[in-house]
């Protein structure tokens, strides 16, 4: 593997002067792949085959193979089709799409244009979360304007007969709009309540037309895959985990940060890159893929490589690659309570198990923290989580359930200690004894 060489794909422009400009992007072979598409070097099927064989998987959290998703679109059909980029980055712990938008926006534009060509879509929207209004949105919009001015977007681009118009859309604050059908509802100007699937967006998406939604990082990976070849990309990581991922490392490390690295790097090396655990403390737990994936005790992750299969086999998931690091001073009941509040606040409310269940989870955890909890409350947490999981329209319900199930499973003693000690955390007891 390529060792610890950084920024090979999505953050290649980092280090250049004003990395977000077209000039900077051209220095790293920007729009070379798109120009080859415009020159007729590839058929639609060839592009899809390249993306398939690169092993690129959706970077938004679910990890579905991007090329396979693209193949679901009825690309020969005459109807209007759309590509949509999901820049509604809001999975707690995750903050790398923001950096792509700020530092390499042209890679997203080129990836969307190539995807649009491959799927027969002539219009694209990039849905950016509303809170990114001050910096990432203007950066992206300026890049789109540059691309139009350079004759890289529009109708009959450079006489190729290929059309692709690209627009920015700005959201207004709702985690659920990161769910792809919730995002489509929002793009249609409605509250972002996820739709039943099927029908899937490739058949019935934006305005009822065939639509494919991919994550920001997925699109931004495409130009480099074409330039350097699918084999180069797939061989960066282990089997089933082609390419690089931007790991967002937050929490209790000495130097939190985003690091674009080949998939499959050992967890220990990533922590070393971040200066180790803060204050020389011991690692207690890690949530390895944004707060929706199961938490892992230190012993379960310390010797694991960071790729899709390794983390699945170790009992969690790669998710968005957001590593939330917790040292020995962390009270796991407090951490879970905060996470539970997030799901309670962000549930869209259309499915009863999620709407009611997330409130139950949060209130039960608050009761335990306030010293009014019982042993039965701990059992009830798991029971309620189990009744949400799998019983909702979208994956939000599962995402609300998994942290509860995994925190209680791995750190039951902390919950029991708090119930038995009137709301006192085991962490405080240990600190007092030290």
């Amino acid at each position: 593997m390529g060792g610890l060489e950084k920024n090979l794909v999505c953050l290649q422009t980092l280090g250049l002067d004003e990395p977000w400009t077209l000039d900077s992007y051209l220095q790293i072979d920007g729009y070379k792949a798109w120009k080859r598409v415009l020159a007729g070097d590839f058929s639609q099927a060839e592009i899809i085959d390249i993306v398939k064989s690169s092993g690129l998987r959706g970077r938004g959290g679910a990890g579905f193979p991007t090329g396979v998703k693209w193949s679901f679109m009825p690309r020969e059909s005459e109807v209007q089709k759309y590509v949509v980029c999901n820049s509604d980055e809001s999975e707690p712990g995750t903050c790398h799409d923001r950096d792509i938008l700020r530092y390499n926006p042209h890679a997203i534009i080129e990836g969307m244009a190539i995807g649009g060509f491959a799927m027969g879509a002539t219009v694209g929207y990039n849905y950016i979360r509303g809170e990114f209004m001050a910096e990432p949105v203007p950066r992206f919009e300026a890049a789109v304007a540059e691309a139009y001015a350079a004759g890289l977007l529009g109708k009959n681009i450079q006489g190729s007969g290929i059309d692709f118009d690209l627009y920015t859309f700005v959201g207004a604050g709702a985690y659920i709009c990161g769910e792809e059908t919730g995002l489509l509802e929002s793009l249609e100007g409605k509250p972002g309540r996820p739709r039943f699937k099927p029908p899937f967006p490739a058949g019935f998406g934006l305005y009822g037309k065939p639509t494919t939604i991919n994550n920001t990082q997925s699109f931004a990976s495409v130009p480099t895959i074409i330039n350097k070849g699918p084999d180069w990309f797939s061989q960066l990581g282990p089997e089933n985990s082609g390419g690089t991922l931007i790991f967002s490392v937050s929490g209790h490390v000495n130097e939190p940060g985003n690091h674009e690295l080949p998939l499959g790097i050992p967890f220990r090396e990533l922590i070393e890159l971040c200066g180790g655990i803060r204050n020389g403390n011991r690692l207690k737990a890690v949530i390895p893929g944004g707060c929706s994936v199961p938490v892992m005790p230190a012993a379960a992750i310390e010797d694991v490589n960071l790729d899709y299969d390794s983390l699945r086999d170790a009992g969690s998931a790669l998710g968005t690659g957001a590593m939330i690091i917790m040292d020995e001073t962390t009270c796991m009941v407090s951490a879970l309570t905060r996470i539970a509040r997030f799901y309670f606040a962000e549930s869209c409310g259309q499915c009863t198990p999620c709407r009611e269940g997330t409130g139950w989870l949060y209130r039960t955890l608050v009761r335990i923290q306030e010293g009014r909890g019982t042993r039965e409350d701990i059992d009830m947490l798991v029971d309620v989580a189990n009744k949400i999981e799998g019983h909702t329209i979208c994956a939000f319900g599962d995402a609300a359930a998994w942290p509860v199930q995994s925190f209680v499973k791995h750190f039951l003693h902390e919950f029991e200690y708090m119930v038995e000690h009137g709301g006192e955390s085991i962490v405080n007891e240990r600190a007092a004894a030290a």
């Binding site: 209007q80 980055e89 809001s90 999975e91 707690p92 712990g93 995750t94 903050c95 799409d97 923001r98 929207y125 979360r129 509303g130 809170e131 990114f132 209004m133 001050a134 910096e135 627009y167 859309f169 700005v170 959201g171 207004a172 604050g173 709702a174 985690y175 929002s186 793009l187 249609e188 100007g189 409605k190 509250p191 972002g192 305005y207 967002s248 490392v249 937050s250 929490g251 209790h252 939190p256 940060g257 985003n258 949530i287 707060c291 957001a322 939330i324 690091i325 917790m326 962390t330 407090s334 951490a335 905060r338 996470i339 997030f342 606040a345 962000e346």
Partner: protein, 163 residues
């Protein structure tokens, strides 16, 4: 600046037109979120009259505008202080002292989350969910601008710099 009930400023109408042009004919509902951002930017919050005016301008039933204003967390449907302060307390920020930053802001401004200061200068938003700047925790957003790696002293400077 305030506008009269039932009307939208020329600037807001231009903004709405600019956004409407991004969507297919007959899909002007897609411009509702942008329209509400434009109105709120100008008026500070979304009054029922302003929302009715947006609905009328976009030729939509008022409920389709009201339900969007109610669903998304960035929209204020009641008057609030001029500067909106959102302190993130989600997991990554919590691990790095986000709760202490929120306590500091509360004490400094003398308000609870969801309240504005009496002079109408500051509005402390309800405890905010993840703003996707986790590697810069603890962080807060003031009038859409992100401030990362906060300390109480840095918070004081940021708040003092606002007019």
């Amino acid at each position: 600046m305030s506008i009269e009930a039932g009307s939208l400023s020329a600037h807001v109408r231009e903004e709405i037109d600019r956004w409407k042009a991004r969507f297919p004919e007959g899909r002007q509902r897609s411009a509702v979120i942008a329209a509400l951002h434009a109105v709120q930017h100008e008026q500070g919050h979304l009054s029922p009259d302003a929302m009715d005016a947006v609905a009328k301008y976009l030729e939509l039933p008022s409920i389709q505008v009201f339900e969007v204003a109610a669903f998304y967390s960035m929209f204020e449907t009641k008057p609030v202080g001029r500067h909106s302060v959102s302190v993130c307390t989600n997991i990554s920020c919590m691990l790095c002292g986000g709760d202490e930053i929120l306590e500091h802001v509360k004490t400094k401004l003398g308000v609870e989350p969801g309240q504005s200061t009496a002079d109408g200068k500051y509005f402390l938003k309800e405890e905010f969910e993840c703003l996707a700047a986790c590697t810069g925790a603890p962080m807060m957003m003031v009038d859409h601008v992100y401030y990362e790696n906060l300390t109480p002293e840095r918070v004081d400077e940021i708040l003092a710099e606002l007019d």
